[in-house]
């Protein structure tokens, strides 16, 4: 359904020193710089799959989504989505995909949501009956019937986002790109949108690519994740594999007496586990399950520990540390 092979994208930027002088100089002499946003990525997505695209700011997630939605031409590489090359922008392609961008309003600012939907009905040539039933299902699922006649610009961010979702899904797309659909929303709205996306995916089975900085989105929605760092994929595989690898461990957090002038990390005997973080008032260590009692008592015996907390490894922490350090195959076990 989505097939990507060796996609590269470089942006050409001209660098300009700050201030008026910089502007003046750049009039005569421009320094061009290549910014490699994607450095040759390949992957496939099948129908019904939701792939989570995870990465730090500037990693290239949005750029990849833009290329697959046909907005931007790649510098190099091949991609087929629904049998088409996205950036040729054939109508047969465009009428079967949807793009939802959390940071960007795509609906018509001055019009009530329902008018926007009517325009989209014409743009996508949705037959009246299908339109009515799709609209009803989506509006009920997201609970926004009361706001249908409000101008888009008067809606709250969460309400608008729900309208954006409806607008994007009215035409029953087979491929859906969601770029940070929950950004800036409160927890209730985030959950509502998450649940909605999950149900939609189970019912309609489109291929979905989702980016989010909220690990809960990824955890709840994606069985498979791609971790992208500086334009390169550092992991592409089941989320469970990462979880499993780390589920063999628990995390011990020791609250320390900040006045005791011992270096926290030295409290913990090496070989028992791995120090995750070490700060003046707190020490975090990752320990294999069967050695937790041993490690706990070692910590307590060392003195200076005020409190001790033992928990499961948080998936968000795992992914974050992967983002920071990359995937170290086999090394952590």
């Amino acid at each position: 359904m989505i097939e990507v092979e060796g996609i590269r994208k470089s942006f050409r930027l001209h660098k300009k020193a700050a201030g008026l002088k910089g502007s003046f100089v750049s009039l005569f002499h421009r320094k061009w710089e290549e910014k490699h946003a994607l450095k040759g990525v390949s992957f496939k997505v099948s129908p019904g799959e939701i792939v989570g695209l995870v990465g730090a700011n500037g990693a290239g997630k949005t750029t990849l989504v833009k290329i697959l939605a046909g907005i931007v031409h790649p510098t190099e590489g091949k991609a087929t989505v629904l049998g088409h090359t996205p950036w040729e922008r054939k109508n047969a392609f465009r009428s079967r995909i949807a793009l939802i961008m959390g940071q960007k309003a795509s609906l018509w600012w001055d019009l009530p949501a329902e008018d926007c939907f009517l325009l989209l009905k014409e743009i996508y040539q949705i037959p009246e009956e299908r339109y009515q039933s799709a609209l009803k299902t989506l509006v009920d699922a997201l609970g926004v019937r009361g706001q249908l006649n409000t101008q888009i610009r008067r809606l709250s961010l969460g309400e608008r986002m729900k309208m954006e979702l409806i607008a994007a899904l009215l035409h029953d797309p087979q491929v859906v790109f969601l770029d940070e659909p929950t950004i800036g929303l409160d927890l209730t709205a985030q959950r509502a949108i998450r649940d909605f996306i999950l149900r939609y995916s189970q019912e309609k089975k489109p291929a979905m690519i989702l980016t989010s900085h909220y690990m809960e989105d990824i955890e709840k929605l994606c069985k498979r994740i791609i971790i992208i760092r500086d334009g390169e994929f550092v992991y592409d595989g089941p989320l469970a594999k990462i979880t499993d690898r780390y589920a063999k461990f628990k995390v011990l957090t020791a609250k320390l007496d900040p006045t005791a002038a011992v270096h926290a990390a030295t409290l913990f005997p090496k070989g028992l586990g791995e120090v995750v973080s070490s700060e003046p008032g707190e020490l975090k260590v990752k320990v294999a399950r069967d050695r937790v009692p041993e490690a706990a008592s070692a910590l307590l015996k060392s003195g200076g520990v005020l409190d001790l907390l033992i928990e499961e490894v948080d998936i968000a922490d795992i992914i974050e540390s992967l983002l920071r350090e990359g995937v170290r195959e086999g090394k952590s076990s």
């Binding site: 942006f11 833009k66 031409h73 960007k104 018509w108």
Partner: protein
């Protein structure tokens, strides 16, 4: 017209009616200012030439127009220009490229420039309504001038021609706006086009007042077909055969400029980077 285009046109109409106030203020202030300026300007020029010994008062003409006639020229120039290039909403296309909001239209299965033209056409229809209103008021108050054959037929032909000229204005402007794919600022290009269009299109003064060489020069540019041609239709100065001849030149310019716009569009979307998300 396909369904979405009809919707877009009707949206533009509705949008304007939500902003009723600016809609009428822009219209009245614009029209009345231009007419007042024209009244004093042409009045002074006529007063200066009225001293000539063989001219009976009220009978002297400039480029074939009486004072009364020139005021009507200005009226149709002002209101007709609104039909041709609408209520001055240039900068939409370049703005969308610059801000990256173009991205959403690239995802929709409709040609972007056609979408924009439909919106433009909606605004043109509004300007037609305003023109009919303004012209009716003027004719009721001041009557038809002796030197001009302004009739319902000439007004209808004028409106039709102005809508066509609008297509040319749209494609011409689009060619410049699309330069925004490569350049951050295009307003200077557009301001230049606007000024040249006003001058060479006969919006400021009728082309018949140009010197001979000026008239033959502008005949080779698209500009007279922007304003002068529809205005002369309104004033009943263009007969049937002449209309077809000039309209086919206008059609040629529309085809040429829309071909150019389509070409620039294809090149531009290739370098479009969808800034700002």
């Amino acid at each position: 017209m396909s369904g979405w285009a009809t919707q877009v046109v009707s949206f533009e109409l509705r949008k304007v009616f939500t902003y009723r106030f600016t809609f009428w203020v822009k219209y009245f202030v614009g029209a009345i200012t231009e007419l007042t300026v024209a009244y004093f300007l042409w009045g002074a020029i006529f007063a200066a030439t009225a001293g000539a010994p063989d001219s009976a008062p009220g009978s002297n003409r400039l480029g074939g127009y009486t004072f009364h006639g020139l005021l009507y020229y200005t009226l149709f120039a002002t209101l007709g220009a609104n039909v041709v290039r609408t209520l001055d909403r240039g900068g939409e296309i370049s703005g969308e490229i610059y801000q990256g909001t173009l991205s959403r239209y690239l995802v929709y299965p409709v040609p972007y420039l056609a979408y924009r033209y439909a919106a433009y056409f909606g605004l043109q229809l509004i300007s037609v309504g305003q023109l009919l209103f303004g012209v009716s008021v003027a004719l009721a108050l001041f009557g038809v001038p002796a030197d001009l054959a302004i009739t319902p037929g000439s007004i209808a032909l004028g409106i039709f021609t102005a809508l066509l000229s609008g297509a040319l204005s749209f494609t011409l402007t689009a060619c410049l706006e699309l330069v925004a794919f490569w350049q951050d600022t295009v307003w200077n290009l557009m301001a230049m086009l606007r000024f040249i269009g006003n001058l060479l299109g006969g919006l400021m003064i009728p082309i018949s007042l140009f010197p001979e060489w000026g008239r033959s020069f502008v005949a080779f540019t698209p500009f007279p077909y922007l304003f002068s041609f529809p205005i002369r239709c309104f004033l009943g100065q263009v007969g049937g055969a002449e209309w077809f001849r000039e309209a086919s030149v206008l059609a040629f310019w529309i085809l040429a400029t829309s071909g150019a716009a389509a070409f620039i569009w294809r090149r531009g979307t290739r370098v479009y980077s969808g800034v700002g998300i």
